[in-house]
Symmetry: D3
């Protein structure tokens, strides 16, 4: 049994720090001893994004995610979780993460849900999201396990506005997923559906996956594999990273203030 | 028969103007009468990218593509072709294109190749590219029609360095695609494999698709459908665009000098 | 910029000329300058088919399509569009088209719809058609993009009988496709649903694809690629054509009066 | 245990009777007691086809297959086997077969091969055939079970020309299928590869499926299900048959001399 | 025409003989002359299973199926049908069947249904079964042909309890499958839905497949292929059987009283 | 941060204890503090299985796996890992695990490999295994990520016989996977390929997954999710467990001496 210290970043890929504390509280509650979690968001210079519900919004923050990934890797993080259920720029970030492992909520949640059931339903905010997310779920190989996407008609920034109303909408959608879609477990398909899984699970009687916890814990698990077993990212074939001299010549990959905010848990 | 004026942008999503003229020459040769083609590249402030062979490079220029898409739409373009065979940010750009149609080379080429044959082989620069590109081809629905990817061991910036050597390498790879992979047509899977298709086609005796021409012509065809039949992008469900007031509040979507260079053909 | 003359045949694969004028009017309205369009139907000796809604009807007219393809190729056509949404005998006709490109409405429409949206719904006449057409859409690689087939309960010959009623049925079915199937664009899945797309598009607010226009324009686009870029069909492997001496020996491939009617537009 | 009389047609869909006797000999050897087998070919008026290796050839004989199907059904046949490994017009013929069941060699052989092994290789004549046949195998749901297609470089009419040479070529290809493709059984993918399966099976030590026997026996099995259990074709939804009055009005479906030849076995 | 004697076992993989007679009656009615059918169930020492609706129940009886397969093979049976619509242990049993062919109801029924229609619906007992059975249907390659699973809310042991009620529930579910799922044929997806197909077929007007008959007849057909054409299971690659000396050393594969009951029909 | 005690069983599903110590040593080295690991094998009464390379062998031990799962659940284990790369009886065991989570090596390894690379190759013992394992990998959704299976020609019991030879064979196969299959990471596809991953990883320069570690750690991770977040298996729809009174009536599910051996690590 080797040392179990590990350092993980939970990156909320938006230009506001307003949700950082809620993720930090979650991290404090669910992390392992020996884990140091840094909850970060991007510097508002990336744009005053409070959500990235649109593909075009994602496209505007990917540069920030790449810079954050490089910065985290330089700081010696073992793993990084990208805090958006679109799993924005997951494969791009992995390319420049050096020995740091990069994870994301959709992938992490589908894996957990299929450990606990054969079919999961995903409760999302808006119908807008469904086509892209269902493509991602299919690309990850979970197409047959997915019992459908169930929108509640809320935007990312609405989930935390009125907890009672949110809870009620999530319950209704989850019941439809279970009764009509024959879902056997529920994924709360937005990192800002945080804080509802316990109550829902108690009411619904099936596993309810909070995707922020899922992303953090998958990152922590990956960090553990890295530090214990030395399983670090491949750099072969499609995993090849660009050369540092080329990156330097291009000149926009690094930025001193890439993070807008940082809350450290468990240092 | 209605008016056939149309305005098309061919956007080379890199931070150098060094390849713009070669695309402009191609456009001049292959465009329809009535088409005005603007060949553009991104402002070097996006980074001194001469290629975007890496996922992380793509991720750094997507903001530029989004800004260019918005700028082109505001300027009244009917269609925009993204000039990279990764089809970088195609769906993201489409979201903010208003009534302008956005196309890209991989999609355009696969469609042309399957009009002329049942199976195509793709000649690429490096093995690095294959995993991502084959995923794209599969996502587009051409998985069964693809006879494989055949790398020649060149980077994007190498293709135009020594035409004779490039030609020879392309021929060899294409012959393998045909004889071993039973390809019936060839796609030259990089916009900088431009200039070789005629010679290869003559030697190989099968259709050889130049992907820059394919992207431009698909854009022109889409522009024609827009101007003649009024077929413009859907804005329903997953195609919904962000609201302009939100974009303004976020504040990074627009930039006066998004293009680094522009060559106008056929004005 | 090279010469832009091109010669296209729109073949209505039935044994009646009754619908030829409606297609000719469409062609006159939507063709490019420089395009000469011949709208043809088969000689009634093929059988007095006014539609080919049944697989067995298609099977009876394929010989006529093969003969028409050969005749069109000999006459120097650059492209031929087969005017039935089953895309009847598309691959068979391609085999004997020599340097002429063959296209068809289902393929052409799915491509256009996925340029303008991520998901399309198809409005068809009868449930009878759905299984075969959805197989075709899946074979073309558009399975994931298809939001379903929505029958209106009309046969091919009913669409043009009472325009008001047809319009009303199409609107209702399209609304179901959009609201229940989350379609983002609509394909009018029968060449005889011609004449309704403008009105529907205005009412529905999403792109509505007329499949006859789609087939004609894809053929024209292919003809342009042929004449400008010299992209003609492959004759390698599965695209190999039978030898002419064998065809002569077999003796039934050619017939002087294969076409029952011909309207020339834009000569 | 009910009566076991049954009447089956084996239709060789070409315009020559030259191969009818070889199929009749096979039928005589392998049929059940109580089965009456009629081996037929099409009237040479369909065209002097000795094979239908080309898609365009298939397209020319489909009308003959439809007419033969209707004629067989009227004569009271219980089942019909279409004697070409392309399974030419299988679904079209099924539509007009009334209570007669229609089968074909590719489907029948894939089923038998996957009863006896998990992976089969298909030995075909020419590379030309592979793309179409592999599409059919995939459409039937056997894509994952198929260990590949192995051409021997012979046309349909070559297989029976020099039995020793054919046997040697088939053995070599089958060995490659087994050793390189890890095939566990072999399908001889042309009805004219008849007569070789016993010798090959003895030499190779794995099941070798003769596709003519497979087609005949699947037809006989279907006939048995029809006569014993009253399982006849569905006429619902996509299986709906055209109305007889419409067929009469069209006027080309019936022909007195649709068959060019007939050998009756076991009457 | 060779000898047509054949010996088939129909194995009901439960630890009760209570249903053996109903299968024996079916066998007596539907077998061919020359077929000797042994209907067996497992010795109650396997556990007092009257059904295997649960995966864990299946897992407890697989050892019994393996022993029964070996025993049947030693007794010289030509084919064995496993009498459960889960097709429990089909591939496992095939591995140790020597020259005996092993079949099962789900595979046999899907094949029959797709001979008679393009889409089938499956009427099952409980929603519990659906996820596993639909996975099996997909694995067999019938995913696109399956119009859905329709549970009636009965357990295996309920179907034969009140025939009138069962009949009424099956009719209702089948009507939903046809009208809502556009099924064109019906599979009664449990061997204990035996005895209802004739009545349902008459009422519904589409083919209704009894899966016990299907399994028995597919086994009989396989036995016929074995005895007439010498098509016996492959033992190559994944079909390799364990060596007998290893089996003897392990010591649990054989048991004198593996069968709990046996009814012989047609000896 | 809650309590981090957790109790995990690593079950080697064979009837010999000969490999238990090697797994216990692995567990001791790689477990988290707070984890108590019990390495068990089945009582030899299940049969003297030293491996379960054959499907029929798996089928003989599944009853033992079910009993072991129930016993482990009753003993209060949080998670159980089934120690065979076939993931034998994974879904069956999950059905009766109550609140215990069940994992297995193939699933766990594919997940780890796709966190570290886009494509993995699997080094297996014998070609015999490939068809079944590749089916499992495909069913799990990793079909596109799998760069192939590479057998070394060893049986399960051979891997630990001559470490030098095994190492050399694994290296050779892995190099082929990387160079020919373009694998970017390697999975050692048998639990008895244990002990080689460090050396291989050092030599190959890509991640090399030991599947025993993967299975154990995935179980530990699942146990952590259970104890920290209360994520326990669903019992809805296909996850429904049989009732205990029915299990008692059947009478074979429980056995006092189901485990043949037990080594406890970290108590």
């Amino acid at each position: 049994m080797t040392d179990t210290k590990r350092k993980i970043m939970f990156l909320n890929p938006v230009g506001t720090s307003v949700y950082d504390q809620v993720f930090a509280d979650m991290a404090a509650r669910y992390k392992l001893p020996g884990s140091e979690i840094h909850v970060t968001s991007l510097n508002p210079s990336i744009g005053k994004f409070t959500h990235i519900e649109f593909r075009a919004f994602e496209a505007m923050v990917t540069a920030g995610i790449i810079r954050a990934t490089r910065a985290a890797s330089r700081e010696g993080f073992d793993a990084l979780a990208i805090g958006c259920f679109y799993d924005t720029a997951l494969h791009d970030a992995r390319e420049v993460s050096h020995e740091m492992v990069v994870t994301a909520p959709c992938l992490a949640s589908c894996r957990l849900a299929t450990n606990l059931s054969n079919r999961f339903g995903v409760i999302v905010g808006r119908q807008k999201w469904v086509e892209q997310m269902s493509g991602t779920v299919r690309d990850y190989g979970f197409g047959d396990a997915c019992a459908g996407f169930y929108p509640v008609g809320l935007g990312v920034n609405d989930f935390q506005a009125d907890h009672e109303r949110t809870n009620s909408l999530l319950i209704q959608a989850a019941e439809r997923a279970i009764e009509e879609g024959h879902a056997e477990s529920i994924i709360l398909g937005c990192t800002l559906e945080i804080g509802f899984h316990e109550c829902l699970q108690a009411q619904l009687g099936v596993p309810v996956i909070d995707v922020s916890i899922a992303a953090l814990k998958e990152a922590e698990y990956a960090a553990e594999m890295k530090t214990m077993v030395n399983w670090v990212p491949s750099r072969k074939w499609s995993c090849e990273a660009p050369r540092e001299d080329e990156i330097t010549a291009i000149g926009v990959f690094d930025q001193s203030d890439v993070f807008g905010n940082r809350i450290v848990v468990g240092a």
